[in-house]
């Protein structure tokens, strides 16, 4: 093991830590922003009592969750019950690993023991990045279904089953929407996808322009995957109490809660990367930090629309949810992928 390898390993671990912490912070901020925005959408102010404009509400909420008594009901399957929240959160965080947050690697202005340190703007540049995202995305289902099953409670089990059915069904059109994008780029590596979008049309060859249908399908599936309204069947308060998380309290519930929001944030990053040109934008190639800014703006826009949708559209019924997925989204995405393939074949071969 040479020095260079060790240093790059350390840099990598630090990077993972930074991203994980950043995502958790984003989760806390997101909860706050969502409450504020939902308030404004419904002609309220949202939380505004703790701190200036309610800015300390996040901290108050976190304190509350952390200091809640840890209650483990007697009738649960202990090990699985305790594992499930983690199983829900970790895959949500992991999916972020392949997202490139800027264009070029960044070299620190100093050296450690004669070795220059370069920081890659991604954690792992997997060459099957898209497959990785889809695979990790389906792992998140385990947390939900195990949480529901181990709670030993009919409502939780039903909620868990329902949620996993929903997540698994919506994965299909999601994958097919991704496929339409991949067909055009010709690579599953997310860095390649972004570079492809940055290299035509003066850096604005965003895939949403050529694949609007795929984008819409992906967006709907992303809402369903993250359990967002109008597909928030996991927490149908009015029929299933709180679905799979009924028996959870304190920080264990907090982890499920975090999983939902991290899922939503990460999926927005993926959407921005695949369809909205990721970090690309004017001068992003030269100044990597500009790229981060562009990416964050795009992600913020997607997150805003997600909250907007939540404020506008009521929850769909479960049978309609399934019907919509299998009888509408799936055929549409198949047709879209087939049409893309056909056009590409006619144009380039």
């Amino acid at each position: 093991m040479d020095l260079e390898f060790i240093i790059s390993l350390i840099v990598q671990i630090v990077m993972i830590g930074v991203i994980a912490v950043a995502l958790m912070t984003a989760f806390a901020a997101m909860v706050m922003v969502e409450r504020k925005l939902l308030g404004r959408f419904t002609l309220r102010y949202g939380p505004n009592r703790v701190g200036k404009y309610g800015s300390l509400q996040i901290i108050a909420d976190m304190f509350k969750l952390f200091f809640k008594e840890e209650v483990i009901p007697g009738h649960v399957e202990r090990t699985v019950y305790l594992m499930a929240p983690g199983l829900a959160l970790v895959p949500a965080l992991m999916a972020f690993a392949v997202v490139p947050i800027a264009g070029a690697p960044f070299t620190l202005p100093f050296q450690i023991m004669g070795t220059p340190i370069t920081i890659n703007p991604w954690i792992a540049n997997v060459n099957v990045g898209v497959l990785y995202i889809l695979a990790i995305g389906s792992l998140g289902t385990y947390g939900v279904i195990l949480g529901g099953w181990s709670s030993n409670n009919k409502y939780s089990l039903l909620g868990g089953l329902r949620t996993s059915a929903q997540m698994l069904s919506y994965e299909l059109p999601m994958g097919l929407a991704m496929l339409s994008a991949i067909l055009i780029v010709g690579s599953m590596q997310l860095t390649n996808i972004v570079e492809f979008q940055a290299s035509y049309l003066g850096g604005f060859f965003w895939l949403i322009l050529v694949q609007p249908v795929a984008f819409i399908v992906f967006y709907i599936c992303a809402l369903a995957e993250a359990g967002r309204s109008p597909f928030d069947l996991p927490e149908t308060e009015n029929e299933l109490i709180a679905g799979f998380s009924t028996e959870y309290g304190g920080m264990k519930f907090g982890l499920f809660f975090a999983a939902e929001y991290v899922h939503m944030i990460v999926v927005s990053f993926i959407m921005a990367t695949v369809f909205l040109g990721g970090w690309s934008g004017p001068f992003a190639q030269q100044a990597p930090f500009l790229g981060i800014g562009y990416l964050l703006i795009k992600v913020a826009f997607i997150l805003f629309t997600m909250i907007w949708v939540r404020a506008s559209i009521p929850r769909v019924r479960f049978d309609k949810l399934m019907k919509f997925c299998w009888k509408f989204l799936l055929p549409v995405s198949i047709a879209n992928a087939a049409a893309t393939a056909l056009v590409l074949a006619v144009l380039f071969f």
Binding site: L37, G39, R40, F41, T42, L43, R44, Y45, W308, V309, A311, S312, I313, F328
Partner: protein, 169 residues
């Protein structure tokens, strides 16, 4: 199917249009303790036991208010005035006078029943207590209302339509 897609998309677009319109309008929330609430002149809030100009209590301990009260939340115990201890102009005064604010429905019957206009419902409505026993107001508290001008503002605009104009446009 195309028709269904078109109609449902327009419906969704309309719904989102409505919400975004409200996003840019000012919230209707009333920031209560920071902004005072406007009430109408005849708003019935917390009771006050009035005094005469010379400082004597108007209440003569007749307990008509207690009799009129539909929720039985007034308790009056009368005693005789003496020349050394004079509380009200007449013969008797209310030695004990309590109102249970948790039971009161603010109907105003007590004020209507009172022959001397001693009990009056004023405009203060911020009646929360930390201890529920504190919600039973003794006579001392009823005689001295705390200043509610920070939370309550009485509207002085013309809010009542003259009876002669009823039914006319």
């Amino acid at each position: 199917m195309i028709k269904e897609v078109v109609t449902s998309s327009t419906e969704i677009a309309r719904a989102m249009g409505v919400t975004i319109k409200y996003f840019f309008t000012k919230p209707v929330t009333h920031q209560f303790p920071d902004e005072p609430v406007e009430v109408y002149p005849r708003f019935r809030g917390r009771h006050v036991l009035k005094r005469h100009e010379n400082g004597l209590e108007r209440c003569i301990g007749c307990a008509l208010c207690a009799a009129a009260c539909p929720t039985d939340c007034i308790y009056v115990e009368a005693a005789e005035n003496t020349d050394d201890e004079r509380y009200s102009p007449g013969e008797r005064y209310a030695k004990v006078y309590t109102i249970n604010m948790l039971r009161c429905i603010f109907c105003g019957y007590c004020a209507e029943a009172c022959p001397t206009e001693a009990v009056v419902l004023e405009h203060d409505f911020a009646l929360a207590e930390y201890d529920r026993w504190d919600a039973i107001y003794p006579k001392e508290r009823l005689l001295e209302p705390h200043d509610a001008s920070k939370v309550v503002v009485v509207r002085d605009d013309e809010v009542f339509v003259n009876v002669s104009r009823w039914g006319k446009k």
